[in-house]
Amino acid sequence: MNVKFSSVVFVMAASFLILTGTMDDVSARGRGGGGFSRGGGGGFSRGGAAAGGGFSSRAGGGGAQFSGDRGAGVQSRQAGATQRTSQRSEAFSSASSNRAATQQQFQTQATERSQSRADTRTSGQTERTERQGQRQQGMTDRTQERQEGYSDRQQNRQDYADDHYHGGGYYHDGYDDDNWDDGEVAAVAIGAAAVGAMAGYAAGESNTTQTVTTTPSTTVVYTQPPSSGYASLPCTPNVTTLDGVTYYQCGSAWYTQAYGANGAMYVPVPAPQ
């Protein structure tokens, strides 16, 4: 009986050990090569608006600011910013409340806020003009700079590459310039880059969520930034170091490593000269 019992215990322990090992393997596969790992190849993005954990966001809601006549967009943003700042301080000082001070207060505040919004909507033009006067000088300078920037960008699409390397610079100048933590974490193309730089970019596109929406004008709205690199290389590369920079060559494509919001990644670059 005792022998039987001990055998059963032994078999159970052995099974437990084997199962533990198996689970570890599964877990390891999930981490290293499974669908959710950035280094894996399953194709799931870890990026997006919430990945940055900021108290502000450039994502969505601002499409109009990036479309059509850029100059007009800047002007409306100016007015909007002034209006919003004013609304914010008014609302913040009046809307804070204590639950203990009864539901009535909540309703009153909600009504006040709705009323304030309605008032702002109806008399917005007048208020905007008045408020803009206070900030006119600084705003004018900034508007001028932005307009120049936009013109340059329209004339020379080279800036596209600049934006790309700045991790989603399409959203620059969106919303308040002071919101320094509103960055959206760009998606990293999951898995390896495809062989060939151009093909590599195409592969990056297919793995990310870039959506280009065209409108009757020359508008291009990017709902999410494109990928800014690859988690791994598609080959065992030839490695070259030049001026302190390490380059990796796969066929005709060259890469280097750089840190983006998602960590270190392989970024396509021109062949070193």
Binding site: S6, A13, G54, R58, A59, Y165
Partner: protein, 285 residues
């Protein structure tokens, strides 16, 4: 017979222990607690108010005035896929702040990636111990300046960075459009004030500990304008407010064999022609 049985049981117990112990080891926190003095040094922020705005700003002032502190943050966030599917990813980080010049964020993601961000008043460094890689750039000027540069110019990621800057009260006041007191509640075993606020682009909730140590215990951010309205959720624990920390803790010394790479945002300055490199085939030049 009994001796054989005893031996078998012993072997079984050892094997079982061997199987269980590694599992226990995995449950250990990634980051060991810092060596603080037992006595905490809490910033003085006055008596506990009852209005939502005052509670929020008391918390903000408390953090802004704290010269040295550490906190552990367990966070998770929604990553909305192209298909609309929402996935949750998580991370653990330990933050050490020593104003005005010391910042250390040790960070481990759910898939095992580790990263350490260091600032010593002169240089910002990001180090990946698993890959033995680091990037470093000079940015004198203090933690506030470094954090803003890190996020805005280097386009790097530092969740809840706003809680670490000394302008936190001003930042919250500037951005918040409305604020409500939701309820007094218990969270993670502590009494707390649950506040709900709205900014232009983010709705946020914060649970502020009641009492003389008004720290945020939980933060939920909802990106209301983003597709799928993803959330970022964080539990903040083990807040410790202590004495001066050695500056050496924030200075990066590259380990043997560590390879230095660039920040992506600075690549065009380092790799000739990188900025001109076409990002997508067919893109208008």
């Amino acid at each position: 017979m009994n001796r054989t049985l005893k031996r078998r049981v012993n072997i079984t117990l050892w094997l079982t222990a061997a199987a269980i112990l590694p599992g226990c080891a995995e449950q250990q926190p990634m980051i060991q607690p810092a060596s603080w003095a037992s006595q905490e040094i809490l910033p003085e922020v006055g008596p506990e108010p009852s209005a939502a705005k005052d509670i929020l700003l008391r918390m903000a002032n408390f953090l802004a005035k704290a010269q040295n502190f550490t906190v552990n943050i367990a966070d998770n966030y929604d990553a909305v896929q192209a298909s609309g599917q929402k996935l949750e990813f998580s991370a653990n980080r330990k933050v050490t702040v020593s104003r005005p010049n010391g910042l250390k964020v040790e960070h481990e993601e759910s898939h095992g990636d580790k990263q350490i961000v260091l600032y010593d008043g002169q240089n910002i460094t990001v180090f990946s111990p698993n890959e033995n890689l680091y990037a470093q750039t000079a940015r004198p000027g203090g933690i506030d300046e470094a954090i803003k540069y890190f996020l805005k110019d280097l386009n790097m990621r530092l969740p809840l960075a706003m809680l670490l800057v000394s302008q936190l009260p001003t930042e919250l006041e500037r951005r918040t459009e409305s604020l409500d007191y939701v309820e007094k509640t218990m969270i993670y075993g502590q009494s707390a004030h649950h506040l709900a606020a709205r900014t232009e682009t983010v709705d946020y909730q914060v649970w502020v500990a009641a009492g003389s140590k008004p720290v945020p215990l939980r933060v939920v951010l909802t990106y209301k304008n983003a597709d799928g309205q993803p959330q970022f959720r964080a539990q903040l624990s083990d807040w410790r407010f202590g004495p001066q920390i050695s500056a050496a803790e924030f200075t990066f010394t590259p380990p043997a064999g560590a390879k230095k790479i660039a920040f992506l945002a600075q690549l065009p300055n380092i790799v000739r022609g990188a900025a001109e490199y076409p990002a997508h085939p067919g893109e208008k030049q």
